[in-house]
Symmetry: none
Subunit: 206 residues, 4 copies
C-alpha cells in the first residue's frame, strides 16, 4: 500500500535529467519568462501537459536546474578551499574550477546569471541567497589573504576587485560554447594571466 503521490522525486532519474537538460537549454537560449512549456515539450518531443507527469511546474524545473548546478559547483569549490593552499594558488584553482563548471553547466550558469536577481525575492529560491553569501565569502577572503601575504595589490578597493574578478569569470558563460577551440583550462589560464598581470606590457626591468 505505498500511496506514492509524487513520482517527481523518486522514479526514473534518467528521464528527468534528460528533460531538465532540455529545459535548461531552452531557458538559457530564450530566457525563463519567454520560454513556454510548450517550447520545452517540443524540444523533448512530447506535449506540454506531459511534462507535468515529471514535474510540478515550470518553476520547479527551474529550481531543480539551479540546485543541481549549485550543488556541483560547491562540491568543486569546497574541494579547492579544503586544500588550504596559498591565496594565489587558491585563486587560480577557483578560477579554473569555475571555467570547468561553465563548461559542464553552461546553460545553468547562463540562467543563473540572467534570472537570479529576480528570483532571490521568492522564498522558494532562498537557496540562491545562501549560495551567494558563501560565494562572496570564499572569494573575498582569498583576496584578503592575498593582500595580507603581499601577493595581491593593497591599493585597490577590495569589493571592487571582488566584483571585477567574479564578473570577469562568470560572464564568460554568455558567450562560451563547449567544444570550442579553447578548453576550460586554457581559457582559465589566459583569464588568470590578464587578471593577475594586466594587459599592459610591463616595463622591462633594467
Amino acid at each position: 500500500m505505498p500511496t506514492k503521490k509524487k513520482p517527481q522525486v523518486t522514479a526514473a532519474p534518467a528521464r528527468r535529467r534528460e528533460l531538465l537538460d532540455t529545459a535548461a537549454e531552452v531557458f538559457a537560449e530564450q530566457g525563463y519568462n519567454a520560454t513556454t512549456v510548450r517550447k520545452i515539450a517540443d524540444h523533448a518531443g512530447m506535449l506540454a501537459g506531459s511534462l507535468y507527469y515529471h514535474f510540478d511546474s515550470k518553476e520547479s524545473m527551474l529550481e531543480e536546474i539551479l540546485r543541481t548546478f549549485l550543488d556541483e559547483l560547491w562540491a568543486g569549490y569546497d574541494t579547492v578551499l579544503a586544500a588550504e593552499s596559498g591565496p594565489r594558488e587558491t585563486l587560480e584553482a577557483l578560477v579554473t574550477e569555475s571555467f570547468r563548471e561553465i563548461d559542464r553547466h553552461r546553460a545553468a550558469v547562463a540562467i543563473y546569471q540572467k534570472e537570479s536577481k529576480q528570483l532571490v525575492a521568492q522564498e522558494r529560491f532562498g537557496f540562491l541567497v545562501e549560495s551567494q553569501r558563501r560565494f562572496e565569502k570564499a572569494w573575498l577572503s582569498t583576496l584578503e589573504r592575498g593582500v595580507a601575504a603581499q601577493v595581491f595589490r593593497a591599493d585597490l578597493d577590495m569589493r571592487l576587485t571582488y566584483r571585477f574578478v567574479r564578473d570577469t569569470v562568470w560572464v564568460a558563460a554568455s558567450w562560451y560554447r563547449p567544444g570550442g577551440q579553447h578548453s576550460p583550462e586554457e581559457i582559465a589560464r589566459q583569464y588568470l594571466s590578464m587578471v593577475l598581470d594586466g594587459i599592459a606590457v610591463r616595463e622591462q626591468p633594467q
Copy 2:
C-alpha cells in the same frame, strides 16, 4: 495639416521622456518580459490603456529607450575616437566614457545587457546589431593598435582580451548605483588599473 493620428512623436516630449525613464526603470528592475504595461502605468500614476496615447506599444517603448541610450553612447565614443590619441589613451578614454554612460543610463544599460541577445533576432532591433559591430571594431582596433605599438601584451588571444575588457566594463551596470561612494571616473580609474596592470603585486626589479 497638423491633425495627426499619432501624437507619439510630436507632442510634449518632456512627458514622453518621463514615461520612458519610468519604463526603463521597471524594465531594468523586473526584466522586459516580466514587466506588464500595467506596472509601468502604476509607476507613472495612470492606467495601462493611457500609455497608448503616448506610445504605439510596449515594444516601441523598449526600442526608444535603447535607441536613445545608444545615440548618446556613440556621441561620446565618436568624440573619443575622433581624437585619434594613442592606443592606451584611447582605451582609457573609452573605459571612462563607458562608466559615464552607465552612470547616466544605468537602466538602459542593464536592459541592453539582459535583453539584447534575444532582441537582435527581430528586424525592428537591427540597429543593435549595427551598434555591436561598430562597438567591436572600435575596441578591437584599439587593442590591436596597442599590440602593434608594444603597449599591450602580444601573447594574449585578442578576441578573448576584447571580451574580457568589454564584459569587465559593462557588467558593472548590474550592480552600479548612481550616487554611491565612487564617481564614474573613480571607478574607471580603478578598473583601468586592474585591467592594465593586474591585481598581482609586481616583483620589484632588483
Copy 3:
C-alpha cells in the same frame, strides 16, 4: 470462450465492491467533480491508470454506485409497500427503511443528494428519473391515503407536505455518521414523532 476484453463485469466482484466503496467515500466527501481518479486510486493504494482495469470510466463508477444503492433501496421500499398496511404504518415503515438505507449507504445517499439534479440531464442516468417518479408516487399516495382515512391533516398543501417529509428524511445523510449514539431506528422514531406530532407542546384537553 472466456477471453473477454473487459473483465469489468465478471472478474473478482469483491475487489470491485471494495473499490466502489472507496470511490463512493471520496465522491461523498469531496464532490464528484472535485474528485480526481488519482484521489480514488490513492485511497485504494494504486495508481490512477490501474482503476481502468476494473472500470470503464469515472462516470461508470458513479453509475454503479448509484444503481447499487437504488436497487437496495427499492428492495426495501417494495417490501414495505407490498405489505399494504394502513397509511400511518406505511409512512412509519418507509421512514424507518430510509434511515436504514442511510445507515448502510451513507456515501451513496450523500452523492445522490448532491449530484442527482445535474445527472438526470444525461441519458446514462435516466434510471434516476425513473426512480424519482416511483419514489414520489409511493410517498404521495401514502400521504393521500392518510388524508382520505383522516389520519393525516387535510388542510396542508400535499406537494409541500411531500417535499417536507422527503427532505426531512434524506437531508439527514449530510450529517449522519454510522456508529454514532443513535441507531437508525432511534433516529427514525424521533423524526416520525416530530413530523407526525410537531415540536410544539399540545395543549392538554381540559
Copy 4:
C-alpha cells in the same frame, strides 16, 4: 496620482452586481466546480477573460456572492433576535425571515447548501464557519428557551430537533422558484404549521 490597482472594490458597483447575479445563477444551476468562467461570461455576453477586469478569480466571485448573502441574512436575523420575543414567536419570525431570504437570494442559498461543506476547509471561507456558529446558537437557544417555557416538547433530542428545523427550512431552496404560486410568507406559514403541530390529525379532545 492615485495608484489604484484594483477597481474590484471601488468602481461601478452596478455592473459588478449584475455579473455576480449572473454568476450566482449559473453556480446554483450547474454547481461551482462544473461552472466554467466561460459559461458565466457567455451568460453575461462577454468573453471569459473580460470577467477578470471586474474580479480577481472565479473563487473571489463565489466569496462575494456568499458574503453578500450572509450579510443580508444576518441583518434580518439580528432584527428578529433583537426583538426578544417569546420563543415561539421568535421561531416563527426566524422561519419567515429565512423563507424571505430564500426568495431574495435563491441562487446564493442553493450554492451555500451545496458547496459550504467543501469550502469551510479553506481559510478564505472562514467566515462561513463563523456564520454557522452564530446560526446554530440563534436557533438552538430559541429552542431551549421554548422547552424551558414549556411551549416546545421536552422529550426530543435538542440537536436532532435543531437539525430537523434547520434542514427543513433551507433545503427548500433546492426546489423553490420565486414567483411561484406561494409567497414566502405563505410557505413559511405552512412549514411552521407542520413543524409545530405535525402532519397527523389530532385526536379531538372530548
